[in-house]
Amino acid sequence: MLTTREDKIMEYFKAFVIGGGICVIGQLLMDLTSYKITPAHILVGFVTGGVFLSAAGIYQPLVDFAGAGATVPLTGFGHLLAQGAIKGAQEKGLLGAFGGGLEASAAGISAAVIFGYLMAVVFTPKGD
């Protein structure tokens, strides 16, 4: 497949529109529903939602289409977990269902924990 300049621009455009669109869904859930939906609910809801969509086979086509527009939102994190667990189960059996999800998302989770800790050590809270 040739990647022309137009393809590259299109790739970024799709990432922007789909990624932005997924964020708008989160914004609408917070602004328009009568339930008290906090950022914590959004985080949990989007990860588990991503797992469901991925297990149902709906999320992979979106990733193929939008690239980072689908993998950077937390639904993409759920997709990574689900695909890891499913592939693990298919290749290594029951043990793979336990290990696969964490294996696939290990780098991201470790990065968040390690960088999070380092930043908390280096910086002091603002507004003190």
Binding site: E11, Y12, A15, F16, I18, G19, G20, G21, C23, V24, I25, G26, Q27, L29, M30, D31, P39, A40, I42, L43, V44, F46, V47, T48, F52, S54, A55, A68, G69, T71, V72, P73, L74, G76, F77, G78, L81, A85, I86, A89, Q90, G93, A97, F98, G100, G101, A107, G108, A111, A112, V113, F115, G116, L118, M119, A120, V121, V122, F123, P125
Partner: protein, 157 residues
């Protein structure tokens, strides 16, 4: 006269209260839905576009698709953690709403922000414990649902 005056006070107060309420409703910022949506779309979209640029950058270094995706996520997480530490991420979040919550950077922010806030309670019970105030539920529900998906795949195999 005195009685009338006494009666006049509560009705005055009632009027003042309703006037005050009207004023509050006028001045109080209405949930600016359209502006919120625009902020979430533009900033959320920009974070994803940056993610795409990072993926392409790592692909050009010869990483495979999975590796480039993981490296891009780690880079975004690092940037979000750094910007949270500097107090910049929260300033952006004011305009972005869900645009800074939904991307993976929001997950990083949810780890760093409470870690910073509870630092004075010590490294173990402050930073170590509070880091997972928000991230804990995310990982629990993520792991459990993914495990169920894996289990179903195993049964159907």
């Amino acid at each position: 006269m005195l009685l009338k005056g006494k009666k006049a006070i509560p009705s005055d107060r009632k009027q003042q209260e309703s006037e005050y309420r009207e004023m509050v409703n006028r001045i109080k910022p209405k949930p600016p839905l359209l502006r919120n949506i625009l902020g979430a779309f533009v900033i959320g979209g920009a974070i994803c576009t940056l993610g795409q640029a990072l993926i392409n950058f790592y692909l050009s270094f010869g990483l495979d698709k999975t590796g480039a995706g993981a490296a891009a996520s780690a880079t975004l997480i690092f940037l979000a953690a750094l910007l949270t530490g500097l107090g910049i991420y929260d300033s952006i979040a004011k305009y972005a709403g869900a645009g800074t919550i939904v991307p993976i950077t929001g997950f990083a922010n949810s780890i760093v922000a409470p870690a910073l806030e509870y630092r004075r309670e010590g490294m173990v019970f402050g930073v170590g414990q509070k880091m997972f105030t928000l991230a804990g539920p995310v990982l629990i529900f993520g792991f459990v649902t993914a495990w169920i998906a894996g289990l179903i795949a195993y049964i159907l195999k």
